[in-house]
Amino acid sequence: MKRKEDVRFLHGKGHYVDDIKLPGMLYMDIVRSPYAYAKIKKIDIEAALKVPGVVTVVTGKDLEKYNLHWMPTLMSDTQMVLPTDTVMYQSQEVAAVIATSRYAARDGREAVKVEYEPMKPLMDPYKSLEPGSPVLRTDKPNKKDNHIWHWEAGDKEKTEKVFASADVVVKQEMYIPRIHVVSIETCGCVADYDKVNNHLTMYMTTQAPHAIRTVIALVAGHVGLTEEKIRVVSPDIGGGFGGKVPVYPGYVIAIAVSFLTGVPVKWIEDRSENLQADSFARDYHITAEMAGTKEGKILATRFKVLCDHGYTDAAANPSKFPTGLFSIATGSYDYDTAYMEADAVYTNKPPGGVAYRCSFRVTEAVHAIERITDRFALEIGKDPAKVRMENFIKKEDFPWKSPTGWIYDSGDYHAGLKKVMEVVGYDALRKEQAEKRAKGELMGIGLSTFTEIVGAGPSKDFDILGIKMFDSAEIRVHPTGKAIARFGTKSQGQGHETTYAQIIAEVLGIPAENIQVEEGDTDTAPYGLGTYASRSTPTAGAAAAVAAKKLVDKARKIAAYLLEVSEDDLEWEPGKFSVKGAPEKTKTIQEIVFAAYTNHPQGMEAGFEATHYYDPPNLTFPSGAYICIVDIDKETGGIHVRRFVAIDDCGNIINPMIVQGQVHGGLTQGIAPAMYEELIYDDDGNMLNGTLMDYLVPTAVESPKWETGHTVTPSPHHPIGAKGVGESPTVGAPPAIANAIIDALSPYGIKHLDIPITPYKVWKALKEKGAI
């Protein structure tokens, strides 16, 4: 089915936050710090106040009066809204200029004079951990260092034993660089506080409107903005990828200003602000180790991670999972011994730790296991495909308990790898490669066979700020048999308006065209945790199916009454009930719904509505088998991705077109960090690529023509057997690409390069090894 939501976008009638214009609306622009670490000596706003159109300038001191200058992060750390004395990263918010127009606000920003006393920033997380390093978070009483938290999983002793006695041990340091989601729409909001009714309407770019409403209430409840007085509206969203989960200072300042002035305030960040100040992704320094036999049996893995969180831990993770779901790093392979530990540290970089189209740090985990598996194969001189085939968890062994305690729901890894190898013609490619190598030409074949973990999550383990990570659906069928369905999630392009309608249609038999899907308005939609981490179909999609099944149960009662038979004598097929043995005696769902309003059984509740809050029994574990083929120009290091084939398994597929579209997009966001994107800082904390001229988002030219396919292994515990797919390719592609490039360079003794692997890095490596 084609998408229901497309028509408005194609006519330019999408409705995004920056399209909102309210009477008397003021505009906000933000003064930002040129320094990564500095004392604020003086903020002189006099000149700014004289700029025509400027209404006021807000500083941390102003917010301090209302105790709004700090706010909690999702990881229960604290973050400045506006600083009162110290800035902790370059481009941190320092003051907000409010004016009658966008242009006046920008001029006002230029006129605000701030005196700083720059200090030497801590940019290297390892240095930051060293004893004697200046303590960054002096706001925290008795904080003596820059260490945030320590985390472990697995069995340390057992792992050490296996490593000690293994005949092969490989070890690889790898850095998964700091990157940025760069949704094409930046972040922004219109805060509209109505003084008369003491009511705030907050239009904002958020993936999780309900959670945001709760956070706003937590931050501003003490000034009278309690949760029932807050309405958060998330209109059309121009891409999220995790970057629109957090609460940014700009939102809070806009709310504060609207609250104080009683006038709507719009704040829309520009691209550089977005790149320089909004939440980053990744930034994990990983030491990966694998122990195995020389025949190629994987025996154990060990991972040590240093997580650079910037000046505060504002990561978007479930509360109990500081490293997200990194413990999936044991991968798709059948072994029972693993140990992993992580430490987080403060530095003078912007805060964050969001997805970049990834389920809570799974990308870092998959890169670590898929790279170290290749290192292992290289070490023992065995084909990496063979090593994977021989170590995969077998189809019949699911559900399978991982060394770190996850219960993989289902999978058929052998089938996926077999299929992708057939599609690319693996053996022929290896032959071609051998011939090319003989001629000194560089060609590489890279694999990635990964297991994802999505659909957070079961309430026993998963919560955000204490709120369990269920999600919800409410279906209301009108007397004429047409329906409206509302959800706690929020699409940013995933096509919920179509997919959810199809799920309900499949269960109820009402045509999807007749089912209107609504999300993103906290006044109307049921409470939910929002859309990220590929959780929408596994949670809200499931909720829709269960709610629809509740309606089928009610329909059965009404049908029995209308047909004057007992419920047991009825047969259901989506769309109608018929009487066993008398197939001509039927009631369609439309007839039944009409009766629910006009002629329902006495004693039965009228109407035809159902709501369900779905609490998943387990997460779902999508998987994929990817192969990438690259040709490298030896003289320039130039990398050409000749082919990339992705075979995904996301369980049952509701809409193949949308699933494939998600895979295409995810793959391009996979090649991006693998070959192009990285946020680069110098030692003084200057971000050196704070525009899209230097932060290299791939175009249609860099992005290869993706070839995709799938195997189908339904999730046994999901009501419709679906698993979620939005992020698998972003997670699975980088190691496939990195492995291909390293495979091409391996004849020269090159065993690893950190992503992004650029022509420059390749050339340097070849030069070092004397290959050119």
Binding site: P34, Y35, S91, K113, S272, D684, N686, L688, G690
Partner: protein
């Protein structure tokens, strides 16, 4: 954003004359394109500023010039200039190390300049900094030579001298 530039060259002028010019604030500062002194704070510290213009790009810094070292015995000097962007968009710091040695009646000069830029210009203009610093330094040297020979010092950032500098840069490598 830090960039370091080293230059060595020979002058026929006697080492003492070169030393005097190199360590005299009023003489050396006028050789720095766009620079000027406003007041003397003490023996080693001076207030001043630098104004730069490259095509449409303008930058203005106000700050301090400090002699960190002036060792007449070893003919070694270290000069530091620190300034804040007049619009509070960042700062710039320059440290110049000068070493003179007497060579057949003339003077061998070895100068290194470390330029550090923070803030807006480093964020958006990093592409400029290295080339611009080179250009300034080349012009500084040309001005310094002109001054020694009693010639007029062009203190505005003119491109002409750059060509000289660049050509030297090129053929210097042969």
């Amino acid at each position: 954003m830090t960039t370091t530039i080293n230059k060595s060259f020979h002058l026929d002028h006697p080492v003492d004359q070169v030393w005097n010019n190199l360590t005299d604030p009023n003489k050396i500062v006028v050789c720095v394109p766009g620079a000027h002194l406003t007041e003397q704070v003490d023996e080693n510290n001076y207030k001043g500023g630098v104004e730069l213009k490259f095509g449409p790009v303008k930058a203005k810094y106000d700050g301090m010039v400090t002699f960190l070292e002036r060792d007449v015995a070893t003919k070694k000097m270290v000069l530091n200039g620190k300034g804040n962007d007049s619009k509070g968009k960042g700062n710039a710091e320059m440290t110049m190390n000068g070493q003179l040695t007497e060579k057949d009646g003339g003077t061998d000069i070895n100068v290194s300049m470390e330029v550090n830029i923070s803030g807006m210009l480093a964020q958006f203009g990093s592409r400029l900094i290295n080339d611009v610093s080179n250009q300034i330094f080349d012009q500084f040297i040309n001005n310094f030579k002109a001054q020694l020979s009693g010639g007029e010092v062009d203190n505005t950032l003119s491109a002409g001298s750059l060509v000289g500098g660049v050509i030297k840069g090129i053929f210097g490598k042969k």
